[in-house]
Symmetry: C2
Subunit: 245 residues, 2 copies
């Protein structure tokens, strides 16, 4: 008999799966639940943002942050993707969402935002079964310029705090001139998938006796000792949010 | 008087700069010399590969390796970008190189391959001047299926050895069935740029006396203790190339 979820165990919220979020291979590694996706997104601050320029792909690393079901990236108002997002050129849209956005005055920019963590090197006995343990999230959608001043400020704070939690309150906020020079794009989490590989090597049974070392080499990330700027006033001590980073 | 390079200090080889490899901002961070580009590419094994599908961008993490002036990526023959690279659909080409490739029988796939290292978090006194110390390489071009058996084998060895130097010789090489299931794409280093930020924060002079900690938090990467597979024969010891990884 199928289990009926009790009121105390809510069904986890999930993103819809679409033709472009269902992988062509290793489908068992894909997941669509909010918790998995949020967890992977929140663990780092660098994404790779793809867009189409003159018909060709462009992929650039950039900072991002998540606020609820929306991602934000920022940059100079002069930077390429941020200019393109406010240019009414339908060729930039692409994808299945073209023409269906809620803000018909803002053409937006079709983007793919990808976040990847590498957790381990998987060494099988056969070269073919070598792999990587990883967690990635791929977000497809239309990025739009954020024009609301409050949302812009909140997004910029979120980006600073995504890199160093607590930092936005312990620095000088952007002034009007700086805000005017900064463009913010939003991208809703809607067409999203996570893909995860964990565990050990998956060798062919007939290779079990081959004399090669096999297992997983964990990949680690961390932070070194913070290096104060040359002109830091010696009376300013290291803030707590840096010693616990 | 301009310096004349002596015969003993050869001018470093450089990639051509094009409209899409000259950044719209922070141009002083860009470089085009082979040494800088190779150094950044060789220090990691994960790239983010962008391509265009149905007019929209797709960005996927994948392993890669460099052999001379050529990059290789691989995957299942069933995977999306690898199938697309051998589909004669001109819409996938894009970019300035469309139609000019040496192999007119192979349409190829317009790609952007990006590699990024994050080296430090740059905490300025002002939120606006927060930054990241990073080194990235962006490669634009047409990826082509590698069909020559020797080049395919060499490329697959290079990918394994790019992750763990020395590993390809200490594992079972791919057999014919495995080779048939693996597609290899090549991408020549031609339209390529590196972008690097180093150093400390760059605050406004009028912010110098603000009471916020400022400096750089180094970002570190490393490896944990290798975890042998459950079924590893205890007589197989840890290979030297793993203890020096």
């Amino acid at each position: 008999m199928p289990e009926t979820p009790s009121p105390h165990t809510p069904t986890p919220a999930s993103y819809r799966s679409t033709a472009r979020t269902v992988p062509t291979r290793a489908r068992e590694r894909a997941s669509y639940d909010h918790e998995s996706v949020h967890g992977i997104l929140d663990e780092t601050y660098i994404c790779h943002l793809g867009f189409v320029r003159d018909g060709a792909p462009v992929v650039l690393p950039t900072l991002f942050a998540r606020v609820g079901e929306r991602l934000y990236v920022h940059g100079s108002t002069g930077s390429r993707p941020l200019r393109m997002a406010s240019t009414p050129e339908p060729a930039h849209r692409g994808g299945t969402d073209a023409g269906s956005g809620p803000d018909s005055g803002d053409p937006g920019l079709a983007v793919c935002l990808t976040v990847t963590h590498v957790d381990g090197l998987v060494l099988a006995r056969s070269a073919f079964h070598h792999s990587i343990n990883y967690r990635s999230v791929v977000v497809h959608g239309i990025a739009r310029q954020v024009t609301d001043p409050d949302e812009r400020r909140a997004a910029l704070d979120a980006i600073v705090d995504h890199v160093v939690p607590g930092r936005s309150e312990d620095s000088r906020r952007a002034n009007d001139r700086e805000l005017a020079a900064t463009a913010v794009l939003s991208l809703d989490l809607d067409e999203v998938s996570a893909k995860v590989r964990t565990g050990g090597p998956d060798d062919e049974p007939e290779d079990a006796s081959l004399p090669y070392w096999t297992g997983v080499v964990p990949v680690t990330r961390g932070y070194g000792t913070p290096l104060p700027a040359d002109d830091l006033d010696p009376s300013v001590t290291l803030p707590g949010y840096l010693s616990t980073l």
